[in-house]
Amino acid sequence: MDTAITTLDHLNAGVFSVDTELVIVRWNQFMASHSGKSVDEVIGRDLFACFPELPERWLRWKLRSVFLLGAFAFSSWKQRPHVFRFPHNRPLTGGIDFMCQDLAFLPVTAADGTVGSVCVLVTDATDAALSQRALYDAHSRLEREVSERRRIEDELQISHKLEAVGQLAAGIAHEINTPIQYVTDSVSFIGEAFAEMRCIVQTYRQALYDGTRRMALEDNTDLAYLEQNVPAAVDRALMGLDRVAALVRAMKEFGQPSLTAKSFADLNRAVTTTLTVAQSEYKDVAEIELEFGDVPEVECHIAELNQVFLQLIVNAAHAIADAHVAPARGTIRIKTWCDADAVFISVSDNGTGIPAPIRNRIFEPFFTTKPVGRGAGQGLAIARSIIVDRHAGSLTFETTTGRGTIFLVRLPR
């Protein structure tokens, strides 16, 4: 018996027993050293009187079930980590507040077959708890990374699709350019030829009838109607062709491949070109107000700057669309000016403004608040890279929630 008690005292686990009245009848050295209460202080005393901080209702239920059923009971650190507020076993390395414990409640049967006492084994599960916490953290981190990677892959796919669409548009613009040219030439020729034919008809009419009558044939073909309306139709066709040609030119200019070397370009013209290309994005939601200053040509990668202007105009249109209910329209103001060192382009809108919590994130790659398909979340990140990294300029913004946003591009001269 003495040997058994000595062994219990040397166990690296807590062992104590309570009788049916929940009076402590055994208390090993582990329990004494970790609780700070010696054997003499606790033996013969009520468990909850000695440790009022114990979860009493829970512990009474556990002990009652063991007394009643004569069966084991358990508790795990996962559900009840600190039944006893024991200090942890990491005085140097730390990392946890209290010892995590597993408890096992063992029925001790008396001679009459009833459960006379319950022996409770308290084992230190701190290491397992810390390992599990580390695993859980690693798992959560991996899940976040996998989720982020999936999102980036989705966005990249959209981005590649958009790039392909852009290249396709530039290619189509190139292909359309030539037929537009000869259709325009032909329509002009038809207009001029019709005017001459009209003169000839008039001359014949004068010669034959002194201009007093018309031939029945003229009435049958409604020549008067044709004389009146064909020139207008030709003018309308030419006007339409002119607009198509302008759009095609803009698309070609906009989509021209980036050159490795910079060249001088007119930024006012670049903005105009971009506005032509981006018309479908803003024409239903916003008016455009232009205030072009007398700015010098800037040495730049103009195709890349076109991309920046497009991004700012599209963002402005989206912000206005979100803030205004049709038919109400907003305004996009684009202004250019310069000083001795730099040329400035500002794009402002009276849209939603950028909410305060995300203002410091809008230049992050793949950050977007737009639904999938409306924005890949790369636009402003790329725009900033183009302005800052490729042109040694700056791209900044000021915004007021509910009032609108102004983006300012500064390009050194």
């Binding site: 979860p55 004569g70 069966a71 009971a73 358990f74």
Partner: protein
């Protein structure tokens, strides 16, 4: 000779299981202070290759369940699996007599009580004192996934199935107790000893 080849043994085992479960039901009723409904235990000797089909037949569903396991050992070693409906046993929270119990803790608590009462009472019929491991949650799954497709480390097992209900509560739990391979022989000898005592 196998367990179920011999009618005397089979009947004696069924009777012992019945008595054990009856006593368990009485203890549970006193613990929960309510009437516990227990089915008549069913015994099956099963090959490991048939375990999923037999389990599904005993439980009566292939749908989603929550399974909690607990091992026991002495001269016999085995494992009990408590199978709860997918909703778990939250409806029993008020029976455990302490507040702030989580769903997982409740599953573990109820399983431990059922296994301790039933398997302990059963073992007592055979004169065996068991030790129990802490229960652990196998997870939420469809019943056929319980044993998966991995090879099992036993050839055949004796299964005792009993289901529990509690009066006036929409609660049902199936408790499957498995004694694999060598433990069956120990049980056989215990049954033989029981029969010998009766004859003596």
């Amino acid at each position: 000779m196998t367990l179920l080849d011999e009618p005397m043994r089979s009947d004696a085992l069924a009777e012992l299981v019945n008595i054990g479960m009856g006593r368990a039901g009485d203890s549970l009723a006193r613990l929960f202070n309510t009437f516990i409904q227990l089915s008549i235990p069913r015994l099956e000797l099963v090959e490991s290759t048939q375990i999923s089909a037999v389990t599904a037949a005993l439980v009566g569903t292939a749908g989603p369940v929550i399974a909690v396991r607990q091992a026991f050992s002495s001269r016999i070693r085995g494992e009990a699996i408590a199978i709860y409906p997918a909703a778990g046993c939250d409806s029993l929270a008020d029976l455990v007599g302490y507040p702030d119990v989580t769903s997982d803790e409740l599953l573990l608590e109820i399983t431990n009580i059922l296994v301790g009462a039933c398997v302990g009472a059963l073992a007592a019929q055979f004169g065996l004192a068991l030790s129990f491991s802490p229960p652990s949650i196998l997870g939420r799954m469809n019943l056929p996934e319980l044993f998966g497709t991995r090879p099992l480390p036993w050839q055949r097992a004796l299964i005792a199935e009993i289901n529990f209900g509690i009066v006036d509560r929409a609660f049902c739990c199936h408790l499957l107790t498995f004694w694999p391979d060598a433990s069956i022989d120990v049980l056989l000898r215990a049954v033989d000893a029981f029969l010998a005592r009766l004859e003596g």
